[in-house]
């Protein structure tokens, strides 16, 4: 029986309805469908997409140990005080060796377990074809459609994948910690330039002013934009500076909307995502035809024999993967 991939079976339609009504178990199931790229995911996202676009998506990134999860926990509580429902996607790395992952961000967010306005989901990076950003965005879409006002996406700020995730948010927070010395060098190239708000967490430690000066110096070198990237100090473990941070985050959303940058960002994000989808689909088709005549395996042999160069081989595979085939 061939079903249209956009047609929902009765039980799936029921699941979607329950998710849209905010039922937590249904939301959890929908996220699993989307995260695992199960065949039903396409139909589910097709149904949910018209209901998305309401949430404020906040990216939180920073080095391991900078206090992202603790800060997320504090922001959850602050946004709840402001009567916003909150979704959290906490991303941790997958072991490249075994494919497994330890997801430990929840440990810092346990206080919120009794609050039905909070939904926390841990996710592993997995390193799959479509890239992390695409997978995370789909999970964010589910939470958005299911009525979360604020969605916090927390990632370790290393590597292009994580930078892409942070870029996909409306407001991106970069968390720095005093006394981590040259760590900032590693992070500055990729993440500092996409941060909308810089947070100096653990600001009760020595070296705050030095870090502050350093960050200001870095910012002064960046191209001038209308939004002046603020530097805020927090001590998340003691709930200090959180309300001010939440104000800034909300202020940033207002700025985006009033300046028209909101629309631009959405478009840029969709563009990245669309291109990533296209890449994913091409890779999938090429891999599916790996051992067919003219497929990946044959191209590899011809490359080894120096009969072809990489560009020729790639074009040839692209032709083979073209429309109507797979």
């Amino acid at each position: 029986m061939a079903v249209s991939r956009y047609e929902l079976s009765p039980s799936l339609a029921d699941l979607v309805q329950r998710g849209l009504a905010g039922e937590r178990r249904a939301i959890a199931r929908l996220i699993t469908l989307v995260e695992n790229r199960l065949p039903e995911a396409a139909a589910v996202l097709h149904q949910l997409t018209p209901r998305t676009g309401r949430a404020h998506v906040i990216g939180i990134t920073g080095a391991p140990g900078s206090g992202k999860s603790t800060l997320t926990n504090e922001l959850i509580k602050e946004f709840r005080r402001r009567e916003r429902s909150v979704g959290v996607v906490a991303v941790d790395p997958t072991s490249t060796l075994t494919g497994g992952a330890v997801l430990g961000d929840r440990i810092r967010m346990l206080e919120n377990y009794q609050d039905s306005g909070v939904f926390i989901r841990s996710m592993a990076t997995r390193g799959q074809l479509g890239g992390l950003a695409s997978m995370t965005n789909d999970v964010v879409r589910v939470m958005d459609a299911c009525g979360k006002d604020v969605i916090i996406v927390e990632t370790v700020g290393v590597g292009q994948d994580e930078v892409d995730v942070a870029k996909a948010a409306h407001s991106t927070l970069l968390v720095e910690v005093p006394g981590m010395g040259d760590d900032i060098q590693a992070i500055k190239a990729g993440v500092l330039e996409i941060a909308d708000i810089l947070v100096i967490n653990k600001a009760d430690r020595e070296g705050v002013e030095r870090l502050n000066l350093h960050l200001q110096a870095m910012l002064s070198l960046a191209p001038k934009k209308v939004w002046r990237v603020p530097i805020l100090k927090t001590v998340a473990a003691q709930s200090q500076g959180i309300a001010e941070l939440a104000d800034k985050v909300e202020g940033h959303l207002e700025y985006l909307k009033s300046s028209g940058e909101y629309t631009q960002r959405e478009r840029a994000r969709l563009r990245d995502e669309l291109l990533s989808r296209v890449r994913e689909e091409i890779s999938r088709r090429v891999l599916a035809a790996e051992f067919q005549p003219g497929g990946l395996a044959e191209m590899l042999s011809r490359l080894e024999d120096r009969q072809l160069d990489l560009a020729q081989a790639a074009l040839s595979l692209l032709h083979q993967a073209g429309p109507g085939q797979h």
Binding site: R25, L38, P39, L103, I107, R126
Partner: protein
């Protein structure tokens, strides 16, 4: 054996436009929890790490968890299995509460296993109650991983076996009336 690219039953699901279906990627998700008041989680961490190395995604929630916290985390994370580590002797109080909460949430399809210090003579009662297995000291990670792999709700499809469509996985049993 890693679960990375195991074909799933879902892959064989007929669709009108199979070209556009991205590769499904399902992995076993396990919550490792420490109910109650013991302050020692070395064992839980070893199991967490071990199951990760067996290719699973393991959510670890730390010490001092109430049954409510454990079940809520399991619900939001949509895990296939929950491992309970307990050394305090309070299992006869905490386990029934966890099982009751799971039942209340129609989550009976989640596999439960236990470890730590549990007197062997109390095992049969726990198994009867609905705990899938009790792993005492000396259990290898491989035993635990194998048990989880073979007994989680998605075991059939993860092994590539055709145990119904993925539809049955979306709505396993009583979940529907929720």
């Amino acid at each position: 054996m890693s679960q990375q690219s195991t074909p799933t039953a879902a892959d064989q699901q007929p669709t009108a436009n199979p070209q556009a279906t991205p590769a499904a990627d399902r992995r076993i998700r396990v919550l490792i929890a420490k109910p109650g008041l013991d302050g020692h989680d070395r064992g839980a961490k070893v199991v967490t790490r071990g199951l990760r190395d067996a290719g699973m995604e393991v959510i670890y929630t730390g010490l001092h968890q109430t049954p409510e916290m454990i079940v809520e985390a399991a619900l939001q994370e949509d895990v296939d299995a929950i491992g309970l580590s307990i050394l305090s002797g309070a299992h006869n109080v905490l386990f029934p509460r966890i099982l009751k909460l799971l039942k209340d949430n129609n989550m009976e399809d989640v596999l439960i296993f236990a470890g730590g210090i549990i007197p062997p003579e109390e095992e049969p009662k726990l198994l009867e109650m609905g705990i899938g297995a009790v792993f005492g000291p000396g259990t290898t990670i491989e035993q635990t991983a194998t048990f989880v792999r073979q007994n989680v709700r998605s075991a059939g499809s993860l092994a590539g076996g055709q145990t119904g469509s993925s539809e049955s996985w979306v709505e396993p049993g009583p979940d529907k009336e929720l």
